[in-house]
């Protein structure tokens, strides 16, 4: 079981390494978004510090969302998805493996890069820490929820937009509690409450979403 999930994840990771673009483009986008803000707004530190949580979290969210359409599209186009569906194991686990790989090449690097970008915004040490932690907890939820949207829109005309449209409402809670956690730290309040809700969202995203995704995939292939 776990071996299977591992095999899927390993294959997707190898593909990502081969292409590299997948990883780099998410990061690159995040960097561009986060760097253009200070340029546009000007260098007043107080203002930047106020903007930081929102900007960084929105950047991470957008970067993840942009990478969603490709989550299943390549496998769909070249026939691999049919093979995955026909494999003798619960499709939900296969999806879990793919979600995991997606997180490893998008969410994780985003979370690790975020503090570096946070310095641009003159964030203090504890805020940087909470920023990283909130992204580490929140991005798995983004990947998990996003997979449902990606599966539902597979092969449809709407493509990319449709994903965004479906997924955005479900992302907003993650955004609110994620950015809220950092904001709370900046303003000196505790971040625990926010982080624990974020954790609950992540657990739901990682353990329940794959089964919905699996159902959506079967429908898309019909």
């Amino acid at each position: 079981m776990i071996g299977m999930v591992g095999a899927i994840t390993a294959r997707d990771l190898r593909l990502a390494m081969r292409r590299q673009a997948d990883i780099v483009s998410v990061l690159f986008f995040f960097i561009i978004v986060a760097s253009l803000f200070p340029l546009g707004v000007g260098p007043e530190p107080d203002l930047l510090r106020k903007l930081a949580p929102g900007v960084l979290w929105v950047g991470a969210l957008l970067a993840t969302m942009l990478s969603l359409p490709r989550l299943f599209a390549d496998d769909y186009r070249d026939g691999t998805l049919e093979q995955l569906v026909l494999a003798p194991q619960p499709l939900g686990l296969t999806v879990l493996g793919k979600v995991l790989a997606h997180w490893l090449v998008s969410g994780l690097p985003l979370a690790l890069l975020a503090p570096v970008l946070g310095i641009q915004f003159d964030l203090a040490g504890d805020a940087l820490l909470v920023l990283t932690v909130s992204l580490l907890i929140g991005t798995p939820a983004l990947s998990g929820i996003g997979a449902i949207g990606a599966a539902l829109t597979l092969g449809l005309r709407g493509g990319g937009v449709l994903v965004s449209l479906l997924v955005l409402p479900l992302y907003i809670p993650v955004l609110i509690f994620g950015a809220g956690a950092v904001d709370a730290t900046v303003t000196g309040l505790g971040a625990e409450a926010h982080l624990s809700i974020l954790g609950a969202l992540a657990i739901a995203g990682v353990f329940f979403a794959p089964w919905a995704t699996a159902a959506a995939l079967r429908i898309s292939l019909e």
């Binding site: 593909l15 070249d78 049919e82 093979q83 026909l86 494999a87 003798p88 019909e222």
Partner: protein, 204 residues
């Protein structure tokens, strides 16, 4: 073993076929015929459980495949029009990945063996995007070399292959049937498969 009765398929406004039935037992091959667009691919995908018929039922060892789920899929090997290989990966990586994903333990030596058998020796480490059309098809077919599952469902497996490879694949299918395996296949080419029992089914 594999039985279908009274199958009917509807696509858009069009009824592709209806009242189709067949039965394939160990060692037998079902050869599906029909002109382009007759519904062969659709029927094969139905047999795999990827599409559902409007009416009728497909049974494996007496049970409807929908209820069997993974139990059925463990004995099924499907090869479609699309090669299901990744252009960025090498043939070796593709073969290993697809075996793992199908839940089979394939050692690297066996994989290299299979690629050699399929005529890709020396290309194991070249990304598939550089391969020729026929070579890509061979990568997809290399899965069959060590495939022990009972039911092979092959959709035009001979496409893009050269004469030598067609003969080799026909032999491979023949050996599978000899071992008591089953195969359902379609092709528009005239291929001589050394099989004992061939059933034909014509969609029109």
């Amino acid at each position: 073993m594999l039985e279908a009765s009274n199958l009917e398929c509807q696509r858009g406004e069009r009824r592709l076929f209806s009242r189709i039935g067949f039965r394939v037992d160990g060692g037998e091959m079902l050869f599906l015929q029909g002109r382009n667009g007759a519904g062969k691919t659709t029927l094969l995908r139905m047999i795999c459980g990827l599409t559902h018929p409007v009416a009728g039922e497909i049974r494996w060892k007496g049970e409807p495949i929908g209820q069997l789920g993974d139990e059925f899929r463990e004995e099924l090997c499907y090869l479609g029009h699309l090669n299901a290989i990744k252009e960025e990966l090498t043939p070796l990586e593709n073969l290993l990945a697809s075996a793992h994903l199908a839940g089979e333990a394939l050692s690297e030596d066996d994989a290299i063996d299979a690629l050699e058998a399929v005529g890709l020796a020396g290309r194991e480490d070249l990304a598939c995007k550089y391969l020729s059309q026929g070579q890509k098809r061979r990568v997809a077919l290399s899965r069959l070399v060590h495939e022990k599952r009972a039911l092979w469902v092959l959709d035009e497996p001979f496409v893009a292959l050269d004469v030598a490879a067609v003969a080799w694949l026909a032999g491979l299918i023949g050996a599978h049937l000899q071992r008591g395996g089953m195969a359902v296949l379609t092709t528009h080419q005239a291929v001589d498969i050394p099989a004992g029992a061939v059933k034909e089914l014509k969609l029109s």
